[in-house]
């Protein structure tokens, strides 16, 4: 029988399949962070159940950490307590923690791949919907709720019904300077925020084959923004080269053995999917969102569409935009380059290459937040910190930061922020804040111009 990449990985992790019920699915790696784990630890403690496989769990503090003065105690009492609780829980249960101050600390979806924890063919979960990021390596990776975090603690397994399969193919060549973020924002704008619900997506075709691993992570990261639990890309030589030599990657003969297995994972020719979509790379332009869900995106040169439904009107009212309006020349006071979507070294290289020799506009507050301590160190090794500094950008320390504004990094009421993050929901970046999602290149250009511009003009 012909099998998809998803089928191969899923089927090899089924402990038990029941005809009418869910499968027991084995989880290889469980990533945890301070916000969605404490209640799961409590639950196990209350029921007297030990953590089953602590060696397969890796923890970090990312959502709720400050991005300045990380060597000092966290000022906010509740945040401090939550981060401390993670440390206590990890110590008590023998779980590896890369907490504040550790050279490996960072956003959970940035450190997994960079440490070689993420590998093709694995099943991975985390109490965070952007766990879909790790699918870039050809693994089944998805976000779970806290009850499920407790289930994995207790059994290293989850009870799940197998999702349906979808393939999104983008063939052809991208136009000059079009970014992976543009590709995924384009796809979501075409398919909508609920099109992927109930599905696991495979991204296929020329564009993803040509894309860097960082780019593939950006694409898979946002699968959840169209409702899909996860997205995957077939592993290839680029994947193997990325994994090889990393801290927790298999070494020597083990690595070769793994690669031989990983090469068997790509979808068999002639496999069928429950849903298929195809797009032409040449149609994709620089993208930006204008509304309050990631599906409300358009090419920056387009005009906001006119829809009649109340939710659409409510969304435009919140954003302070009008239907039929162009966003070109719209003044922007805040720019955020960071988040699990776009905070890897390649993202900062792209931003720095554009910014180099220029200066941010006077009206703009521009925040650069690396995804991890290792990305931060790399930024400094490459001298990108100087580029940002000279251009008037503020380089902060690693964390989720203004993507969800749990810490002090908030966009003020009513202000617009061109952001490389993944969600433009009402109040996501702070109460009343208005988010426009875009690529690191668009964000850098906005910061320099002080307004939205057409990069091709």
């Amino acid at each position: 029988m012909k099998k998809t990449l998803f089928d191969k990985v899923w089927d090899s992790h089924v402990v038990e399949r029941s005809d009418n019920g869910p499968d027991i699915l084995y989880i290889d790696k469980h990533l945890i962070h301070e916000v969605t784990s404490p209640q799961a630890f409590n639950e196990l403690e209350e029921r007297g159940i030990p953590v089953f496989r602590p060696d397969q769990i890796v923890a970090t503090a990312d959502h709720n950490v400050p991005t300045q003065n990380q060597h000092l105690p966290i000022k906010d009492a509740l945040s401090r307590k939550q981060v401390n609780q993670l440390t206590i829980n990890c110590e008590k249960n023998g779980i590896t923690l890369y907490g504040l101050g550790h050279e490996y600390q960072g956003i959970v979806h940035v450190i997994g791949p960079e440490l070689g924890i993420t590998q093709p063919g694995m099943t991975m979960v985390c109490g965070d919907s952007h766990t879909s990021t790790h699918g870039a390596f050809g693994s089944i990776a998805f976000g779970i709720g806290t009850s499920q975090v407790a289930q994995v603690f207790a059994s290293q397994c989850l009870l799940l019904s197998k999702p349906k399969s979808m393939r999104i193919t983008v063939n052809g060549t991208l136009k000059k300077d079009i970014q992976p973020k543009d590709v995924i924002l384009y796809i979501i704008s075409k398919l909508g925020t609920d099109s992927g619900t109930g599905y696991f997506v495979e991204y296929a075709g020329d564009v993803f084959e040509a894309m860097s691993m960082e780019g593939r992570m950006t694409v898979c990261n946002m699968s959840i923004e169209m409702g899909a639990r996860g997205g995957m890309i077939a592993p290839d030589q680029k994947t193997f080269d990325y994994v090889q030599g990393r801290e927790f990657a298999p070494k020597g003969a083990d690595f070769d053995k793994k690669v031989a297995y990983w090469k068997t994972l790509p979808t068999d020719e002639g496999s069928s999917f429950d849903a298929e979509f195809k797009f032409d790379a040449a149609d994709i332009g620089h993208m930006i969102t204008y509304g309050t869900n990631p599906g409300m995106g358009m090419k920056v040169t387009e005009k906001i569409p006119s829809l009649k439904n109340d939710s659409f009107k409510k969304s435009l009212k919140y954003m302070g935009f009008n239907k039929g309006e162009s966003l070109i020349n719209k003044p922007i006071n805040y720019v955020f380059i960071g988040s699990c979507t776009n905070s890897r070294i390649e993202d900062f290289r792209i931003a720095a290459a554009y910014i180099n020799g220029k200066h941010k506009a006077e009206n703009v507050h521009a925040l650069i937040v690396p995804g991890s301590q290792q990305v931060d160190a790399q930024i400094r090794r490459e001298g990108l910190d100087k580029v940002f500094e000279e251009a008037g950008f503020e380089l902060r320390q690693a964390g989720c930061s203004a993507c969800l504004a749990m810490n002090d990094d908030k966009i003020p009421q009513g202000e617009y922020c061109v952001s490389t993050s993944n969600r433009n929901f009402e109040g996501r970046q702070g109460p009343g804040a208005r988010t426009l999602l875009a690529s690191p290149l668009m964000a850098a250009a906005t910061a320099v111009a002080g307004k939205i511009i057409d990069l091709n003009a």
Binding site: S155, T193, D310, Q413
Partner: protein, 195 residues
């Protein structure tokens, strides 16, 4: 988990599509390390004005509406995986959420907390909104055993889907941990086979 079999209640309508979990419970309220207290901040930024006063137009503050059932627009619960959204809704007192479509992770989280997500057709959702807005005293009847949702005092009803396993969990108040822990022998055998 609390068991759930039947419910007879009035309902609160929020006729907005794509309600994401950031609206149900904003991130700044996720700093707690237990499950309590989230109900106070459910839909925080829609329930309160910037100056902290209540927004009387929002259905949860509108005294016309009350009950343990929330009716919401299409694609309810999209976005973040935060289970705090389910805790906020149950903490506020909801036991059932009705919509024409639910996001995956939210649906799972709801079921794991004894909060029943009922997916109805778009046409029936429209009928429900109209009925409740016209007469907020209308009672809705939820029968999990028979998988039906009906409007009291009328012959309008719809059946809904739920996995047989999750249905038994809800009816008996069981959760997945019990099931998984009881299967540890099989899990260990799987690990041995694959090591």
């Amino acid at each position: 988990m609390e068991a759930f079999k039947k419910l007879n209640s009035t309902a609160v309508p929020i006729q907005i599509e794509n309600i994401d979990t950031d609206q149900i419970i904003p991130a700044r309220f996720l700093k707690a390390t237990d499950r309590k207290g989230f109900g106070d901040n459910v839909f925080r930024d829609w329930r309160y004005h910037k100056d902290g006063t209540e927004n009387q137009e929002f259905p949860l503050n509108d005294t016309t509406y009350s009950g343990q059932i929330l009716i919401a627009g299409n694609n309810f619960g999209c976005g973040s995986s935060r289970e705090h959204a389910a805790w906020a809704l149950t903490g506020y007192g909801f036991k059932v959420i009705i919509s024409s479509f639910f996001a995956d992770i939210f649906k799972g989280n709801a079921l794991n907390n004894g909060l029943l997500p009922i997916q109805v057709s778009e046409a029936f959702l429209k009928v429900l909104f109209e009925t409740i807005q016209k007469n907020p005293e209308t009672h809705l009847l939820v029968d999990l055993e028979n998988q039906t949702l009906s409007i009291e005092g009328s012959d309008r009803y719809e059946t809904f889907e739920i996995s047989a396993y999750k249905k038994q969990c809800m009816i008996n108040g069981y959760d997945d941990i019990d099931y998984l822990v009881n299967n540890r022998d099989k899990i260990i055998a799987f690990e041995k086979k694959n090591s």
